[in-house]
Amino acid sequence: MNNTYSIQVENLTKVFGDFTAVNGISFKVSKGEIFGFLGANGAGKTTAMKMLIGISKPTTGQANVAGYDVKTQAEEVKKNIGYMSQKFSLYNDLTIRENITFFGGIYGLSKMVIKEKSQKLIDELGLHEEANKLVSSLPLGWKQKVSFSVALLHDPSIIFLDEPTGGVDPITRRQFWKMIYREADKGKTIFVTTHYMDEAEYCDRVSIMVEGNIEALDSPKNLKTKYNVESMNQVFLKLARNIE
């Protein structure tokens, strides 16, 4: 594989019975890029993402993620990516420290490394007082920040973020994006889905999925020029409305 790309997808397809959820999509994501993966509910985003993170087998087509084939090397893919979703992130009845230890263990890190990484994470987020408290007592915004850091524990080269900021207050949402920028700046590839169209503008490039196909893929600036509108929200409305 050409190693300037973190993700290479070719004709990726997933069929459930007589329903084609993902219809032969192709795209490439460069190393260190922030790539926004947008689409309406039911457009096939989640199905596509599940194939990319190695938990759902493509019906046909190819995808290479972090240098591994998602069909034949799914376990390697999982070891080399980070994943965070809004719906599931941390165990509420474990403390922050216990969560870090647990996920570190799952990723096969040694006790020494886990100890070191836990301290670093807690220092960076300034969570000294909260480290031994149950996660359930943390505000949602903090949970999201901790869970992002936990997804980075094993130093993956790509991080998949599935609606990471849903319901989070506007200030925390921006602090979260600063963490994303920081990681991209370090060379990590970010693959993110969101329903906040202002966040789509923070991405280097975005793709918009409509009914299983990628209808548009470019930088937010170029998309706005192409569709002659002022915001990504309008681009989105134009594309997703046109199919009806």
């Binding site: 457009a43 506007p170 202002d198 937010p220």
Partner: protein, 308 residues
Amino acid sequence: MSIILKNISKSYGKIKALDHVSFDVKQGELFGLIGPDGAGKTTLFRILTTLLIQNEGDATVAGYDVIKDYKSIRNHVGYMPGRFSLYQDLTVEENLDFFATIFDTTIEKNYDLIKDIYVQIEPFKDRKAGKLSGGMKQKLALCCALIHKPKVLFLDEPTTGVDPVSRKEFWEMLKRLQKKDITILVSTPYMDEAELCDRIALITDGQILQIDTPKEIISTFPKKIYKVNTLETYKLIQDLELYPNTHSAYPFGEYIHFTSTLPNFEPKDLFSFLEKNQHTNIEVFETSPTIEDTFMELSNTHNQVADE
């Protein structure tokens, strides 16, 4: 007045979910409760729909007291909770029929009210609710909340996790319902939806920060606000944090919204600071604040007061 809250407080153990909340919603008004997760929005809804009893204060809905007249309230309000509330194993039509029967009415009797929305899901009326897409579920839930022709409609984060197209359609439906003289109290974490309401209350940590029309709330923004952009966004964010005269700097789409601590701030000073820090393609120009700018400014002030 359709909804009246006076000094409502509610605690769960040590956590104060609502702290002396007061406001009124007029008959036929589309009123938005805007705030992040954990602000107390759901607790407020549960008190007003008689599912939870407040520790302090009084509230009436459609003229009925939420404690004394709880049975009357239940007949006159529709409630769409944040989490999907329908019976997953019943079909679309069975769900609707079930809710109609509970309220001692029929689908036919109030079909006018839901027709606009129901025709969109009617092709799937024999599908189980659990097998519907997110947008369809949301439409069915709204039909079920409307089938007994309520005077007041409570919608708790109906658009959370919903894509921009479905969100826009949902708000168009609400505008049409409002014309039928239904009072609507709706909560949302999406600040852009605030501008679609007649009036809004900004809420955080169980306290109301401000109540007014979106326009009036924006007009209270205390500072001049500037859009800033350069070629390297991450470096720009970092440098703006180091700039001594920064009051706030938040990403907004492709620009950073910037306010200064100086009352007589000159954009050209920021321009030369950025130039000195090797930025290229620098843009700095004045813009108008949005609801989101105002919310962030108010929550910062609120947090500073809370920390002291």
